[in-house]
Symmetry: C2
Subunit: 215 residues, 2 copies
């Protein structure tokens, strides 16, 4: 399972789905892709775009349709998707939907080394994060409200997912924060003491040694 894709970059999926629509040249794809997510994240990686398009062509998933110049602008190559490309798009989508792809999220990584900071620091940082997340949720909700009048839900589904996950994160962080600020988080005094003394208590050290859990 999960046979390796010839072109593994998710940008390739975006390109395939753009071309499934109609033939385009790379820059045009970028413009189209900007639409969906620009303000959001992922500021089109130019290098990757052209590399990816080249690779897709090399593997026969897309092909050159025409290549000419208008005026004396740099040459423009228009690509179209091939039958193989459509198959890849469908197959890849199937896999993405069916198989959880446990990745290594950045925040999770941060949490797992959280102990290197004193608890009150952590509380402050999480407060910042909470604010940022709430802003994100509000922004998304506005966007969703704006679009949902005109666009069928089918095309907004990933926004709904984002919102659901963001809200879950919001809730989880708020709960943790509450424990940290109210002092009910177990082991808080030891954690604080460790940072104030500057050294690991023998007890903590032993624990950490036994469990590589802490990374």
């Amino acid at each position: 399972m999960a046979k390796r894709r010839k072109v593994a970059n998710l940008l390739a999926l975006a390109v395939l789905s753009a071309l499934a629509h109609r033939p385009m040249h790379p820059y045009e794809m970028a413009a189209a892709l900007r639409g969906w997510n620009k303000e959001h994240d992922m500021g089109i990686k130019w290098g990757s775009l052209y590399t990816v398009v080249g690779n897709l062509a090399k593997h026969g998933l897309i092909e050159e349709l025409e290549s000419g110049r208008q005026g004396r602008r740099p040459e423009r190559t228009v690509y179209q998707i091939t039958e193989a490309g459509r198959e890849e798009l469908v197959d890849w989508t199937r896999e993405l939907l069916a198989v959880p792809h446990t990745e290594f999220p950045w925040f999770r990584a941060g949490l797992s080394v959280m102990a290197v900071l004193p608890p009150d620091d952590v509380a402050g940082l999480l407060t910042d994060r909470l604010a940022a997340i709430r802003k994100g949720i509000a922004g998304l909700e506005e966007l969703y409200g704006r679009d949902s009048a005109q666009v069928p839900r089918l095309f907004l589904i990933e926004m709904e997912y984002d919102l659901a996950i963001l809200k879950a994160e919001e809730g989880w962080i708020a709960a943790l924060l509450e424990e940290l600020t109210s002092g009910t988080f177990p082991g808080l005094p030891e954690w604080r003491a460790f940072h104030e003394s500057g050294g690991l208590s023998a007890e903590m050290k032993e624990l950490a040694e036994k469990n590589i859990t802490e990374f």
Copy 2:
């Protein structure tokens, strides 16, 4: 903000946090890191490990402590973290905790191109995913239960986070699935018809054209 890290790979964070513990040589780090997450995901990328260690050393975040051989085994270089390295570890952790790093998750990508599959297919695939996620939750819960008897919660926090997010995903998928199978998902007939006829209805096409939302 978010000044670029000299070594951006998360593996570098892992290495730093391992060395914050005590000096080690690379293979030893790998063994330690395996402990935390092996069965889970991320099967130590050997190439990256040595590259990353090299880069960290180049940037003065870690340094060679000793380098010798025991018997005629390949030479072993033991590294220790530097003051700069500790600072980087702390600063990086702070950033990871405070700043949401909207990445581009694979499932989300799948959702956003979901329309390329017929709805009943999607329902089947999501059912598979749901099963996989539930299995994942059960596994994590067991692990958590096993560890929480011995390890302070501080070191299990990222597991709690994982569980919270997984459960949110579970709930969201189950709800969507219910809409798909019961037929209450809006636009279902059109979606199905589109795949049965093999062509995009003019209506749908226009919608999709107007909104690049669909990638």
